[in-house]
Symmetry: C2
Subunit: 242 residues, 2 copies
Amino acid sequence: MRRNEILATISVDCVIFGYYENELSVLVRKEQVPYNDEIIEEWKLPGNHVRRDEDINATAARILKEQTGLEGIFVKQFWIFSAPDRLRRRPQDFEWVKPRLLDERVLTVGFYSLINIASIDNSKLIDVAKWINAYEISQLMFDHNEIFDEALKKLRYDLLHEPLIFELLPEKFTLTQMQNVYEVVFDTTYDKRNFRRKINKMPYLIQLDEIQTGVSHKPARYYSFDRDIYEKNRSERFDFRV
Amino acid sequence: MRRNEILATISVDCVIFGYYENELSVLVRKEQVPYNDEIIEEWKLPGNHVRRDEDINATAARILKEQTGLEGIFVKQFWIFSAPDRLRRRPQDFEWVKPRLLDERVLTVGFYSLINIASIDNSKLIDVAKWINAYEISQLMFDHNEIFDEALKKLRYDLLHEPLIFELLPEKFTLTQMQNVYEVVFDTTYDKRNFRRKINKMPYLIQLDEIQTGVSHKPARYYSFDRDIYEKNRSERFDFRV
């Protein structure tokens, strides 16, 4: 990559959320950072500069491919982080990034992505990448904690307004599985009866003629999401959500 | 402004929506564009480059101030437009912009803004700016029609989810005024009874002990928006809106 092939002042950073067995994770990558005559390990979100011939969605897809081996994953831009001092929050961050920069001012476009970890091949992850629990994130480099916090807020907002939850569920799922995903993403617990009452108002949630097999408890019924019914029922409303 | 004081590849473009007497408008500005040995008039959204010492919100506020004289207006980033060919959609656009550019690749951050035109001093508008009906926009320069279309979509989405509608209403308003704003923004008409039924579900809409005076029709009651009640009633829900 020749240096003039990238846009010096624009990057993309990706918050890749993963769900697996009642845990919400986020993918971070390790960097070796020289600081005070030592090499310390620091973690950051996967990111990269925008290339001259790319739109930013292509940049996000490329970062995902390069760092996770994954293609065709849902990605969504959610905010631009543009504080002039964003690379200089801690001296070690700036020391590390400085030789990599063409310009000391870089705006970054935050993308988030949503993966059902059970459905992917984790062996494709690059070896400096790892999944960490989304609720146990330590200090990341630059403004990456802020980017993560905003991504989580946006993920929750979007989950309440779009049928994104089904990205995290298998094709057929039980209502308990569905409740678990909501509980993990919103970091809370719901009363089972209240939850089912709300769920019952979703006309696009289809009860299948099929129940679990091979479970030790009373087998639960499977459900699936019907996108056609969802699209047909979409309408504009006034209540702007309270 | 020295040329190295701006970020060459990043700009902000503003879709400033104005509401006045049952009409939704958008602010555009005129440019003199040389083309085929003539000078033609073209229209574009107000926009400018990001300065080196600014975050993008400051850029948006500056553009609003410079082009409309307005300060302290609600502005919100909504999308980044990053197609590599976005300045070259028509030859006359690129010919006009080329001498103004430090780099031929410019990403732009779209902001929208919402103004009750009755509450502002229109004499502060720069003389090449004008309000045009939002539903009668002709061809704008670059990708600015696309930016406008996305802003309108985002405005409508946000109006259904946030108490933005009150930015367009006076402190005290009648339900007919409120219905008019919704009808204009969504470019539709609502049945009065259905509309009032929906409105009645808004606990933060306060009926005042005051009615219109000096009107020829039966005077209507005034209402106001109670932000405290709104904030208290905000809660997370599951139905992700259909």
